[in-house]
Subunit: 329 residues, 2 copies
């Protein structure tokens, strides 16, 4: 979740450790951000990432680093919000977390939006985040959309993350995150993964000649995904900026949209009869996955990108959304 | 386990259903089987597959269909037997299951050997099987080595399977099969998968340019493997017979041997303190994995290859080893 681990360069061995400083993407051109009244979230700005350095003639608050995957994420978030409607409470994130930037050189900007589920709904929270971090030869852009369910249901959570480390390559993580031990529950596999034919989306993305399997360095993180998760690294090679944008707006957007639709149709509304022990077990599993994900992803990386003060504020807010104790960092 | 599903042809989409009849490998040349006294299991013949038609000048009992992966499997089985020693009871499989063939046209031959664990040991059973099935333009060869542990330990089982559908391509399944819900047990991941560095073996096989991820058509089967499982399809293309043999005797043998060594060192001897509820849960999980695997793999495929009578006999023996009820077929 909120995978702040950097994507591996396309040529690296899967085993090589990658740090932010080893990535050397070019800075994407900054574009004016023009969100018309026609976009479902036209008035909402908290999930936009404002660049720390403005394009010529633009003021700082007017510009964003616009990458195709961020637009895709925004559209899908709008779609989910429109469908979930009153089941989502208004955003309750303080302004200095809704948008934040690194101190000093100001080489990183981010945004976080969390909307809790309304009482009586199956929704725990919907979290959108966007991070942009300059590195010596370019920038890294990470966009996340998580919609987690509460303990009234055992249905999977929705997870979508794009990690773009260069204008020609991206890592995509798309999954209906299981909440039960799949090998112990074949009926859960059948209900949420077989009957929904979710694996077809994975197959379509995997067929792209530019796609290779992406494996998290963290074995724990790997264990949290389902058997139909789309965990791919797409690398279009030198001069492949246009191809990547087409893939992001084409196949990746289609797969993400299909997964969200499946989740909205088959998971979001579904409450589950469970024995108390079973529910307790699920809650315990959920807690471990959430805590461990924050520990693996955020507490090790966010301070490096934004400095300890900003990172603490942002992590505290995510912990609040996740309903977990403060992680050590 | 005992993956009798046929390997997909290398050019097929991962979603395409493949039946035995769609595979068109060439028959491998039969060779005399000469096992010298120097081989650890020189006197053991039950795991050899005898061909249904003999090479010129050879009697039926002298010849086997020899493929490189079968030799590798035999060597590893010998290694395991040597190390486990008296912890394995003598083979207790009736002769008509130790070696069997299809009736009528006799286009399939197979062997099964099961050695139960000695009382007081951690071993439940060691199962070796070998299948050779002629298809219109060639043959399919499947070799399996499973070493399962009993409920005195929660350590992973060992699984190795080779499914060769043509002289130039093979599917390899190699894993330490987890017995717990990994997302709920980060300490289990750390102990058996992180500390043992087992993932390095997967990385090495994955680096082969001929290797592609292999995904079982069964979502359930996928859910039984660990996050470091080697599930690869190796396709060397036209004229690649020699290359495949080199890879099987080289990289695949090395990875399989390393995994077995890790399993012998870190899993085979290890008894586990567990709460009773935890142990019950593990036993239940084990039972589901075993029953469902037989259902998915064997009861749907073995009758097609060997006819119902032979298949029933063989499946009954595997069910006995697995300690599960008769599956419907």
């Amino acid at each position: 979740m909120l995978q702040l681990r950097s994507p591996p360069p396309a040529t690296s061995s899967p085993s090589s450790a990658v740090s932010l400083s080893t990535l050397a993407p070019r800075l994407l051109p900054l574009r004016r951000r023009c969100r018309g009244a026609g976009t479902p979230l036209g008035g909402k700005t908290s999930s936009a990432v404002r660049a720390s350095s403005a394009a010529p003639g633009a003021t700082e608050s007017e510009v964003v680093v616009e990458v195709a995957h961020r637009e895709v994420a925004r559209e899908l978030a709008s779609l989910a919000e429109a469908r979930l409607g009153a089941r989502l409470l208004p955003s309750a994130v303080p302004p200095d977390v809704a948008e934040f930037r690194s101190g000093g050189a100001g080489n990183a900007v981010g945004s976080l939006d969390v909307r809790r589920g309304a009482p009586g709904s199956t929704i725990d929270f919907m979290l959108q985040s966007s991070l942009h971090c300059k590195v010596p030869n370019g920038a890294i852009d990470i966009t996340s959309l998580l919609i987690f369910l509460n303990a009234s249901t055992d249905a999977p959570h929705f997870l979508m993350e794009f990690i773009q480390g260069s204008p020609t390559s991206i890592v995509v993580l798309l999954d209906l995150l299981p909440r039960k031990d799949l090998a112990l529950h074949p009926e859960y596999i059948e209900r949420y993964y077989e009957n929904t034919q979710v694996d077809k989306q994975r197959e379509k993305v995997e067929e792209l000649p530019q796609a290779r399997p992406y494996r998290s360095q963290s074995l724990f993180v790997r264990s949290t995904f389902s058997l139909t998760a789309i965990l791919m690294s797409i690398d279009c090679g030198q001069g492949g900026e246009g191809t990547l944008e087409e893939i992001v707006r084409g196949q990746l957007a289609t797969a993400a949209s299909a997964l969200l639709q499946i989740w909205l149709d088959s998971c979001a509304d579904h409450t589950s009869e469970m024995e108390e022990g079973e529910r307790e077990n699920m809650i315990k599993r959920d807690q471990i996955v959430r805590s461990k994900s924050i520990e693996v992803d955020l507490t090790s990386n966010l301070p490096r990108m934004f400095g300890p003060d900003v990172a603490d504020r942002v992590i505290a807010e995510i912990q609040k959304a996740f309903g977990v104790q403060e992680a050590k960092h």
